[in-house]
Symmetry: C2
Subunit: 446 residues, 2 copies
């Protein structure tokens, strides 16, 4: 049997490696359009922050190891342009412009996502960039090394934008951020979003929500970003307004698309064609709180889905329970985490959401060095079920959210969660962990 994989990053290489471990005799071929495979894209902002680090540090395993040690037929700079599900072939062209074609018995589409670019004049100007793959990272880092970048404008205020603000500030660049929508972190409970906003502005970053970009042009020795009511000058413009699934070849092949135009897959990662799977940022997923489809382009679920595809192809059937929507990021000295549903998502899913927000200390009463942790917790009034939590603080946030994520997997009620035996010692928590205190408060509203 020949297992062909389109895309050589998280989902694709996870599937390839695992398939080879399960069935060493199986032919496994990977076609990757860039020259990089298996790298930590999420690590790019931290790499960019440090001028002395090589972008290639982020490569987890080299193409050579996959080829020689694991016996995977890995071809880089091979961009697949079309799939023929009847003939069970794919075709495309190499970086050098040579056409190629390959057959498959089972196909995995793990083509990832691409950054969205604002649909305005000037996005192709030098100095206007996005950040998705390592090549983007190298380009941005080379630009910072070559040009004198005193001022940057980031379009977008999501995870990547906020991670890049910190990276650019640490390199001495003054940064402004703009976005068209009026609300900073709209998925976040307002009190918590305000904590993040304050931290960002306290670090000298200008935040301009409600400013749609109309054009980018050269000017003033650099670039000018023109919004209706305001014009920003910058030496560098980073577009971080989100990503879109690379699902066009799937759509062209007649595969069903789902949420956000991602390739629709079932819990076994099967597309609408019995011999084609999809995994990672190009595919959708089930949300385990709502039971409905969702699309969350994050790394863990991509790796996990890649494994599950290999398991299913190799005769070890596995169905994924779904994702909880857990995410964490760091911005300056702040940890920001969420899991489960936001208030809006809970309403849309038909729950009757009630929430509380509290502020707690990260360490015990009278223990020095404590930080404030702001927590929001959400439950369904009808069932008492825990639906999600959000947290912000200088310490004790990033891993604490996982307790709630595990609770969501088990469909716990807030009352049950409030009885969990969480760790306590004065340097790490109050006796009643902030999560328990929040759950206790939330119970009063149920």
């Amino acid at each position: 049997m020949k297992f062909l994989i389109i895309g050589g990053d998280a989902a694709g290489m996870s599937a390839a490696s695992r398939a080879k471990r399960h069935l060493p005799e199986m032919g496994v071929q990977v076609l990757e359009k860039t020259r990089d495979v298996s790298y930590s894209a999420c690590g790019m902002p931290y790499n960019i922050a440090d001028a002395g680090r090589d972008m290639d540090d982020l490569v987890v395993r080299s193409a050579d190891v996959f080829r020689r040690k694991q016996g995977i037929d890995l071809l880089t700079e091979h961009q697949v342009l079309s799939i023929d599900p009847q003939a069970k072939t794919v075709s495309g062209k190499t970086g050098a412009g040579e056409p190629f074609g390959f057959g498959y018995d089972k196909l995995l589409i793990a083509a990832g996502a691409s950054p969205l670019m604002p649909d305005v004049p000037g996005v192709a100007l030098p100095g206007v960039m996005a950040l998705k793959n390592l090549e983007d990272g190298r380009r941005l880092k080379a630009y910072l090394a070559r040009q004198t970048v005193r001022k940057a404008l980031i379009i977008g205020m999501g995870y990547i934008g906020l991670e890049m603000v910190e990276a650019l500030c640490s390199r001495g660049v003054a940064v402004d951020m703009v976005k068209p929508g009026p609300v900073f972190l709209p998925w976040m409970q307002p009190m918590l979003a305000e904590v993040v906003r304050e931290t960002v502005t306290d670090n000298g970053v200008g935040l301009y929500a409600g400013h749609p970009v109309e054009a980018i042009e050269r000017g003033g020795g650099g670039l000018r970003v023109i919004c209706r009511e305001r014009t920003f000058s910058a030496d560098l413009v980073l577009c971080a307004i989100g990503v879109a699934p690379n699902s066009q070849i799937a759509a062209d092949a007649g595969l069903a698309l789902g949420l956000n135009g991602a390739i629709a897959v079932d819990r076994r990662l099967r597309t609408s064609n019995a011999d084609i799977y999809a995994a990672g940022d190009c595919a959708d997923a089930y949300h385990l709180v709502t039971g409905k489809k969702t699309w969350v382009p994050l790394a863990l679920r991509a790796n996990r889905a890649g494994w599950a595809v290999a398991d299913n192809i190799c005769g070890r059937p596995v169905a994924l329970p779904g994702i909880a929507g857990t995410a964490v990021f760091k911005v300056f000295d702040l940890q920001v985490a969420r899991t489960g549903l936001s208030q809006r998502e809970a309403l849309d899913a038909g729950f009757e959401p009630v929430d509380v927000q509290i502020q707690a200390r990260s360490r015990a009463h009278a223990h020095p060095g404590a930080a404030t942790i702001s927590i929001q917790m959400l439950a369904d009034k009808k069932s008492g079920r825990l639906l999600g939590a959000q947290m912000v603080g200088r310490e004790g946030v990033a891993h604490r959210i996982n307790a709630v994520a595990v609770a969501l997997h088990n469909r716990m009620t807030v009352a049950d969660f409030a009885q969990t035996d969480l760790a306590y010692a004065p340097p790490f928590s109050p006796v009643w962990d902030p999560l328990l205190t929040t759950a206790n408060q939330l119970m009063k509203k149920l």
Copy 2:
């Protein structure tokens, strides 16, 4: 109705406050033998570490607030010496030696625990101390201020001993530790225990396991602690060999005792007498993994049990699911955490335990500043059920253990736990959280 409470710390004051909130008209009386109520005993090592801090910083809420603001009849320096369950009275004597007697409708025994002292000559010598209540802490701190303490010996190598090693070292005291048993941290997986042992000895602490103390005597300008094969000299001897439940008055009153001589209670915290409850360090509890009785003198479960007693007495019946045995402590720059069962406990409970130990990085591939996290995870081979985990590392341990604790509450299998959606960002974790990697490894042995 009159609700009488013996003991004014975690369980006792939690019960008193909550009962008053539920039923403001109810008479609530608390009899506390020391002059302190509602303090953070766990904070004492950190307070002792800082010569400039007042021990009274650890008082969470003063007796006066309980009396005036909450209307609790709180009497300190009132030691209860006997209970008459037929007459429904208690009697005792005050700090000044005056006898007293009070009646009750419902009684809560929240008398705590007392430090065990080695049964050897010399334990009453000046400079030989233990650490349980605030008075112990004041005495120890005053001793450090008054005497020239260059060298200390700690008898015992448990949580308190290890927290106190750090505290004493930070005050410039050279510390040795002795214990009679041959194994350092016997409940801990050996590879993990070795990490802790190395950290402690790397900080200049002498560890002497397998040395039963035979006597303590004056000598050499200080104290000499005599073991069979070795004699230690010290200016201060701290006994930290564990605590025993203060259950004698309960036993004298005919109440059933359980594990470790703790007062036996059901899930509603009822003793063998219908009108008497017990909670906190003096009472036993259910372990939610084994379903059997356990005795774990820790703060969270004491507070929680105090609340549950108040709920039950005030007509809001609640049954506690039990404890997972979650615990965390800090020793020097190391975080040490556990939840669930050790290998030994799993065997004793009739499981067929299998475990794995792995070492993982606390941050993503190539992210600077990562520490090693050592993890052990334990499961039942018959059912695949997750039974417990232990973790050691310089960061990312204290809160990470909570994800496993929540999993234990839900009787998750390792396979289910391996599918949980845990948080990932490069500064906080590899893509596959160390817990997920451990679970994935453990699944191979099931």
